[in-house]
Amino acid sequence: MAEVTYLEAIRQGIWEEMERDSRVFLLGEDIGAYGGAFKVTEGFLTRFGANRVIDTPIAETAIVGAAAGAAHMGLRPVCEMQFIDFIACAYDMLTNYVATARYRADLPTPMVVRGPSGGYVRGGPFHSQNPEAAFLHTPGLKIVCPATARDAKGLIKSAIRDDDPVLYFEHKYLYRRIKEALPDNEEILTPIGKARVARQGKDVSVITWSAMVYKALEAAEQVQLEDGLSVEVLDLRTLLPMDDEAILATVRKTSRVLIAHEDTRTGGVAGEITARINDGAFEWLDAPVKRVAAHDVPLPFAPTLEDFVLPQTADLVNAIRWLAKY
């Protein structure tokens, strides 16, 4: 059992899959000699060679499109977006070409697009985005957002083995901040489409994912101590396909639900989750489903502004108390 960071876990996951399966190869900007902007692929070029670790021009549409073409031919490309924000430059290729390939043309397109996402890092409007919501309404894609080192490793491995395109959004705030002891000789494969109960509780449920899981756990701890409230925290892990069973189970258990995400509120993923809860467990609700999300503005740079715009632990505490009192 070695202590590994979230970043190291991603690294290990990709490494193991490349060792296991010669069809897996990497495409991205500065991923070779440099090892990627955040060093996720450090050492890969030396180990796997320039044919499997390909430095590309600055051309996200070409990276994603080329990955799709290679995937059709039986390879298993893993694309890095240097910052996930730039996935916007491949939006057409991902939504119109990649996502539809199997349905319209029976073309298998097993590929992964991954990259550093998320805020709380003073990255400003173009190095802090959470693009989940932009792809949630595209049939044909899968979306995963690991919160723990274990899932970071387990989900990248499952994503690479998946027969369909998977968007893997890793949170750069977690890269080196969290550590976890992972078994050295156990193969970790987190199933895509399955949520995880991060904390058991009975009074209020917080449904969330990625870095927000930690704020939820902190808030749960605080209201436990200060209010004696028992809060369940559900870490969705996969957003598409969504784990309805797990969502409805926690709703039926607590009847009070908070959905928390880092992205802006309007049009965010919480809307979809609310609709599913409303649809599947309406009678179980003792209070309105509430959302804690970022304010509806582009994410500003200054710490005072970023901290105000993004949800903080205290906000979750407020929201949980409000629900408990309702």
Partner: protein
């Protein structure tokens, strides 16, 4: 006086190392393209087709001649555009498949999910386009990257129009293919217009092969209405790609004789231009050449026409009465897992 029989010796030797049989094949594919499209037009007029109809009238030589330069036995793959019916036929797509696609039949290659010639078979060697222009260039860069990584001597070919060359996707795909020296031949069909937009409003570049210079690859140009010139020029590019020489941009100069699609009467099109290019019709011209050079006899060409008519009659007879896909197939196969999308509750609200 055209030769009556093929026994007489050719006036000149056949160029490009082609055999008489191959010359006839080229004639067959070009003629098949045209007649199939003419059949489609009458079906369209009888409202037997679903959606729009796109013609390649006057461009049959560029499509057929370029695709013919690929080696089907080696597993070469091309990605056509809407005017490359001929290229797909050469790669083994059948008239029956095309008719079924245009009629959205259940038995069509895409089972009624996609339109017209947007279908593919990587075994036979064609990858259907999607509508957003330019996207197939990066995708074919990826296909040919897989050839390179596997050390295969296969070649890929992708078609772009003079209009599609303005897209960012084209540029990014070209940049990647060139810097990776991928075995990709890029065919630019310079047919003068992009929908109603004349070439000079699309780009400030006169000869589109010039764009190759921006990628550090060779750019060549040929008369797109001369099928043998198209074949020869493309073949050089294909051979270069196969031998590790990287991509080539092949500009084929031709003209779009019909509207963008059948609904478009091309009121914007200068009549003189049409008249001028009418005289350059690639099939009439090739026919004349075959006869004058005594590379084929009029009987040979007759037979080709008859064969095609018979094939198309049969294909049409087979598919016309076929059913459309049944609704319950609509939700299947978005992903491998889960195998089908949810059926919406409102269809059986009781349950």
């Amino acid at each position: 006086m055209p030769a009556k029989t093929t026994t007489e010796p050719p006036v000149r030797p056949i160029p490009a190392g082609l055999s008489r049989a191959q010359l006839l094949e080229l004639f067959y594919w070009m003629t098949l393209t045209r007649i199939l499209e003419e059949r489609l037009v009458s079906l369209y007029r009888q409202s037997k087709l679903i959606g729009g109809l796109f013609r390649s009238l006057g461009q049959e030589a560029d499509a057929v001649g370029s695709a013919y330069a690929l080696d089907r036995t080696r597993g070469d793959i091309l990605s056509p555009l809407i005017r490359n019916l001929g290229s797909m036929l050469v790669q083994g797509a059948t008239p029956l498949e095309v008719l079924r696609q245009y009629m959205a039949k259940a038995a069509s290659p895409t089972r009624g999910r996609e339109l017209n010639i947007h279908f593919n078979d990587l075994q036979r060697g064609f990858l259907g386009q999607i509508s957003p222009l330019g996207d197939m260039v990066p995708v074919m860069a990826g296909v040919t990257l897989s050839f390179k990584l596997a050390g295969q001597d296969r070649v890929g070919m992708v078609y772009v129009g003079d209009g599609a060359m303005s897209t960012g996707a084209f540029h990014e795909g070209m940049t990647l293919a060139a810097v990776q020296r991928l075995p990709l031949v890029v065919i630019c069909e310079h047919n003068g217009f992009a929908y109603s937009t004349p070439h000079h409003r699309q780009t400030a570049v006169a000869e589109l092969r010039t764009k190759a210079l921006a990628y550090g690859i060779p750019g060549v140009r040929a008369d797109g209405n001369d099928v043998l010139a198209v074949y020869e020029t493309t073949k050089v590019a294909v051979d270069r790609a196969r031998s590790g020489g990287g991509p080539t941009l092949v500009e084929l100069v031709t003209f779009r004789m019909k509207g963008h699609a059948e609904h478009d009467n091309q009121s914007y099109m200068p009549k003189e231009l049409l008249a001028e290019w009418e005289l350059k019709d690639p099939i009439a011209r090739y026919r004349k050449q075959l006869l004058e050079e005594r590379w084929a006899s009029s009987e040979d060409l007759e037979q080709v026409g008859q064969r095609i008519a018979a094939e198309l009659d049969a294909a049409l007879a087979e598919c016309e009465s076929e059913p459309l896909p049944s609704a319950d197939t609509a939700l299947v196969g978005v992903l491998a897992e889960p195998p089908a999308a949810d059926a919406e509750w409102y269809r059986s609200p009781g349950g």
